[in-house]
């Protein structure tokens, strides 16, 4: 199997236009390329420096996630969801188990909801740091990237203290979490909340009013509001075009309804607006984390024994009959929890956009169909629309600002 360049005859254009385009130059921005967004392929048709057309190709990281979902149980599949949007794996875990718990009809404990909110917002900060860092790196600002990565290391340290893994945590379980949050983690989060705004200010000083950066990103890759809705954009990409849709406010799940934060929108729809929206969203996320970490309710983190979904504590297993039965039923492979023969869709506001799972259950503890609706697919599909007429150096800026994660794109 070789990689032949795709022909442009498959897109509809008139014969006369095709003949006159013989002088255009085809550039393969291949699956291995210097921009930090891995395994995407763009075939660009250039007239000098100007991009006349772009044909994006994906699938260079398609690993069959959805087929694996039909063979793994709900608690095993969370390890695979980590590897989707690998910049913010906690958000994927929260999204997957939110969908599973919607299917099973489970209501979480208050403590679990608050902890999941905190980790989802820390994942959002982590994702936006890398996304903006990558935009900086691709446009030449290496120091900005290093500052962003250093802050991500602080967040990795928090996650490692919480559950043992830097990223790809697989922290959530059906009906709760794998481990509870300890006071040390709370202390680390408080320290992060105190020190992060200063770093964010330093990072903003580097790029936000930097003449070179602004010239490279302002007016580049403009997405209007109507096009954003037509093409299915979501998350910061849509909000930077004026679509004020944020699932944290519109369909509040977990504990988002209890906290005071704002939805960040812009109206320009260009790369600079997306950069600013992400910077401001980091501040809003930090506000949520600051409020949440001061008011984590006490109590159990997993749902009770009666629900027969979360493993009971060892004390319950050894001293109560319900605990023993529940442990037996959950651990034996031919038993496990009951899943209705129904299908649902549930989405959360992931850092990249609306991340949803469409799960079809069939009575077993493995899903019959686990479809992941990734925001990156629609963002990558609208790339040719954004890049027409811009120069080759803008390709990298626009690609960075859309924050396309290849693993989420291809699954």
């Amino acid at each position: 199997m070789s990689i032949a360049p795709p022909t442009f005859e498959s897109t509809p254009r008139s014969a006369a236009a095709a003949r006159s385009e013989d002088y255009l130059w085809t550039l393969n921005f291949g699956p291995q390329h210097p921009a930090t967004h891995t395994t995407l392929r763009l075939v660009l048709k250039l007239e000098g420096e100007r991009v006349v057309d772009a044909m994006p190709e994906m699938g260079y990281l398609h690993s069959g996630f959805e087929k694996i979902g039909e063979h793994l149980t709900f608690n095993q599949y969370v390890t695979v969801t980590d590897r989707m949007n690998y910049i913010s794996p906690m958000a994927n875990n929260v999204a997957w188990h939110h969908a599973v718990e919607t299917l099973l009809g489970i209501e979480l404990t208050p403590r679990c909801k608050v902890i999941r909110t905190i980790i989802a917002e820390l994942a959002r900060i982590s994702d936006h740091l890398l996304s903006n860092g990558a935009v900086g790196l691709d446009t030449g600002a290496f120091t900005f990237f290093l500052y962003a990565f250093y802050q991500r290391e602080v967040i990795y340290d928090i996650f490692e203290t919480l559950c043992g893994a830097r990223f790809t945590n697989s922290y959530t379980r059906v009906g709760g979490l794998s481990q509870d949050m300890t006071p040390l983690v709370v202390e680390k989060i408080r320290t992060f909340v105190k020190t992060f705004p200063k770093t964010l200010d330093d990072m903003e000083k580097l790029l936000t009013r930097n003449r070179i950066f602004v010239d490279r990103t302002k007016g580049v890759g403009v997405l209007t509001k109507e096009e954003a809705i037509n093409r299915g954009a979501s998350g910061p990409v849509a909000r930077a075009s004026g679509v004020t849709r944020d699932l944290r406010k519109d369909e509040p799940c977990l504990a988002y309804a209890d906290y005071d934060f704002q939805v960040c929108c812009a109206s320009a729809g260009d790369c600079y607006a997306r950069y600013l929206v992400r910077m401001q969203e980091m501040r809003e996320s930090l506000k949520i984390v600051a409020q949440a970490v001061e008011s984590i309710p006490a109590g159990p983190v997993n749902v009770g024994i009666g629900q027969r979904t979360a493993l009971p504590t060892k004390q319950q297993v050894y001293s109560t009959i319900e605990g023993t039965i529940s442990h037996f039923e959950l651990s034996m492979s031919n038993r496990g929890f009951e899943v209705p023969c129904e299908e649902i869709y549930a989405a959360i506001e992931a850092p990249n956009g609306e991340l949803g799972f469409y799960i079809a259950g069939d009575g077993n503890e493995t899903a019959y169909r686990a479809r992941c609706r990734p925001p990156s697919v629609l963002h990558f599909a609208m790339f040719p629309h954004l890049i027409r007429g811009h120069t080759l150096s803008d390709v990298v800026a626009v690609l960075g600002s859309l924050n396309i994660i290849a693993a989420e794109l291809d699954r």
């Binding site: 498959s10 069959g64 809705i229 093409r231 849709r245 023969c341 299908e343 869709y345």
Partner: protein, 177 residues
């Protein structure tokens, strides 16, 4: 949990008024409408005009191995592929799921690309992984699998580990320059 079930009811009432009665059901607050394949374009355009302006997802479920009794949608019994169209409204936050059931020799359905540009790649992916044709699609090619791939991997009769395609490559050893 998604709310606004009452306003979805008014939407469904408007749909019934324009297009006729379809089977609907509700589960965990989510409303599903089953539409026959030939009525799909008009139903989608009516729903888009009534405010469901965002196409969230198009996907498919292959019911080949599904257990009996089937889920609470009697219309799905006996069909192999169930397409799922997820629609949402940016103004009122309503959500609606449209289900279309198609069958095996030559499964085909009209394309939603004239209504939403977002449908372009979503339908290409369903074609690639399930083999359902979308008539009227401007560019129906494979999206995630290589162009030379012949099977439709997410069908239930295709094995998880594949049929040896992943081993079929030349081996490069050290003395090859």
């Amino acid at each position: 949990m998604p709310s606004a079930t009452s306003s979805v009811d008014t939407l469904l009432a408007a749909l019934t008024e324009v297009c006729g009665l379809f089977e609907t059901s509700v589960f965990r607050g989510q409303t599903r409408v089953v539409v026959p394949a030939e009525r799909l374009p008009e139903v989608l355009s009516v729903l888009k005009d009534r405010g469901l302006d965002l196409l969230v997802d198009i996907s498919c479920v292959d019911y080949l191995d599904y257990r009996d009794p089937p889920m609470q949608m009697p219309a799905c019994a006996g069909h192999r592929y169930g397409l799922v169209y997820l629609l949402a409204s940016t103004a009122t936050n309503q959500r609606l799921t449209v289900r279309v059931f198609v069958d095996d020799p030559e499964p085909a359905v009209a394309s939603a690309v004239p209504l939403w540009e977002a449908a372009n790649w979503l339908e290409r992916e369903v074609w690639d992984l399930f083999g359902i044709r979308f008539t009227g699609h401007p560019d129906l090619r494979r999206l995630v699998m290589p162009e030379e791939f012949t099977a439709h991997p997410l069908r239930k009769d295709y094995p998880l580990q594949g049929r040896g395609e992943r081993h079929n490559f030349p081996v490069i050893t050290r003395n090859e320059r």
